[in-house]
């Protein structure tokens, strides 16, 4: 069993600058009286280590501000760790935000290609997948309409359709399943189920504990940037539930 994703002593620090010099003049003033500049450090993650085995569904749970989204952004290579090492094997399809990179002035069709390109696929692959994507989104009648005329539900559907049909090796899912109506929601879940059966790696971040328990093999419980528990999802979810009830 090889690791699809491994975090090795990963820490991430954000520097919150209360008075950031945004202009040249401000930074020159800063040279004259440097004391006024105040910064505050915030450690979103501290010494986090874990491995996700290829082909498993891995859940990440924890209260708000635990660092779940930071972990996803590190996996997607949007952020760089302050220290430690993040290793990812294979192509990642980040569902961090559906329709990220959609351009409102362009049509659905143009946006499908643009979004596919953002995920790093070749022109040939994008053309191959195009029909499946449109079929999945159920938006064939609107595909030549500029996106600015789409409803937010349609927007999300197109976003999920692209991300889910680009065939990633690792799928990152961050609370995006509350998409569209009940029928489409079911379709998304069944797509995830399909990924699972195909033996692809899925990282699932959610507050929906029953779903995490049901679909994840392994889970990690994060609390204030540190790992509280990693293991089989039932155990981790139960432990998390007990601690939240105890408070």
């Amino acid at each position: 069993m090889s690791a699809a994703i491994s975090f090795d002593d990963v820490s991430k620090r954000f520097v919150l600058r209360h008075e950031r010099a945004y202009t040249v003049l401000e930074s020159m003033i800063g040279l004259v009286k440097p004391a006024r500049r105040s910064t505050e450090e915030f450690w979103a993650l501290r010494d986090v280590s874990f491995e996700i085995v290829a082909g498993e569904t891995f859940g990440i749970i924890g209260p708000n501000g635990a660092g779940k989204s930071t972990i996803l952004k590190l996996m997607a290579r949007i952020l760089e760790p302050t220290s430690g090492e993040v290793t990812v094997r294979g192509r990642i399809s980040p569902l961090l935000e559906l329709g990220a990179g959609f351009h409102p002035e362009l049509t659905g069709r143009e946006n499908v290609y643009l979004n596919a390109a953002l995920f790093g696929v070749s022109q040939a692959e994008a053309q191959d997948r195009y029909d499946e994507i449109v079929e999945f989104s159920e938006l064939r009648d609107f595909i030549d309409v500029p996106l600015k005329h789409y409803s937010s539900g349609m927007y999300m559907r197109l976003g999920f359709a692209v991300a889910a049909n680009i065939i990633p090796d690792v799928l990152l899912v961050d609370e995006v399943l509350a998409v569209g109506d009940e029928a489409f929601h079911k379709k998304c879940l069944s797509k995830i189920e399909e990924f699972r059966r195909e033996g692809r790696t899925i990282v699932f971040v959610s507050h929906d504990l029953p779903t995490v328990r049901r679909i994840c093999h392994q889970a990690m419980w994060l609390d204030r940037g540190q790992v509280r528990a990693v293991g089989p999802s039932e155990q981790v979810v139960d432990g998390y539930l007990r601690s939240s009830l105890a408070v």
């Binding site: 954000f14 010099a21 945004y22 930074s27 990220a100 351009h103 362009l106 143009e110 390109a117 022109q123």
Partner: protein, 269 residues
Amino acid sequence: MLQTWRELLQYRFLLKQLVIVNLKVRYKNSVLGFLWTLLNPLFMMLVFTVLFTIMLPQAAVPNFPLFVLVALLPWQFFSNSVMMSTSSVVGNAHLIKKVYFPREVLPLSTVLSNLVNFALALVVLFGMMVVLRGPFTIWILLLPLIIAVQLIFTLGWAFFLSTATVFYRDVPMIMDVLMLAWFFLTPIFYPITILPQSKEVFGIVLNVQRLAYVLNPMASLIASYRVILYDGAPPAWDFLLRTTVTAIAFLILGYLFFRRFRRSMAEEV
């Protein structure tokens, strides 16, 4: 470095898409659409022709409209690329924060879409050269080489400025002023020969004409365009070679600056 190349190769479809989006969005919802890319230089050329043949006939420089156009079109390619590249990273903050892709494609796509516009303007220019009886000589074949040198020089600026704007939002305003000054310091509306060869400034005798060439890579590039498209003669090889070296140096420095900060862009934009 090798890894960056491989990655850029993998993401070439994204580069192509971004160039297309840049070109499309500019003319979206306009009736004539993409035709504007051709109409814009055409109208400009008509205005110059009327201005400099009827209203302000220039006796000193024959065929003055063509004299200006062969210099102004490359300048616009440079100036538009530079100004648009300042916002190429900051203007795509929503992408940088949500998706990973090699950040290099942002300034690259901005400059390349301006290159496409320039190429189309050149087609119009060749049409005008037929009308205005410009010289069609063998030296026109050197055009791709000169464009390549200008492209390298422009990319260096684009990498530098797109990064600098992430940290200082007044870079576009500074460049606005700088480009205006640069425009007048570059021999576009005047031949470089009208500059004095010896001029006393604060007691020092300067060869202004030579300095204008040596200190300004754009002057040498513009002169090269002019000599092959207006004079129909070979370019000044020594200046072209020197400009090529300068352009490559700018690209290396600009790119190193970009590379130094590209990792933190998602946090800073």
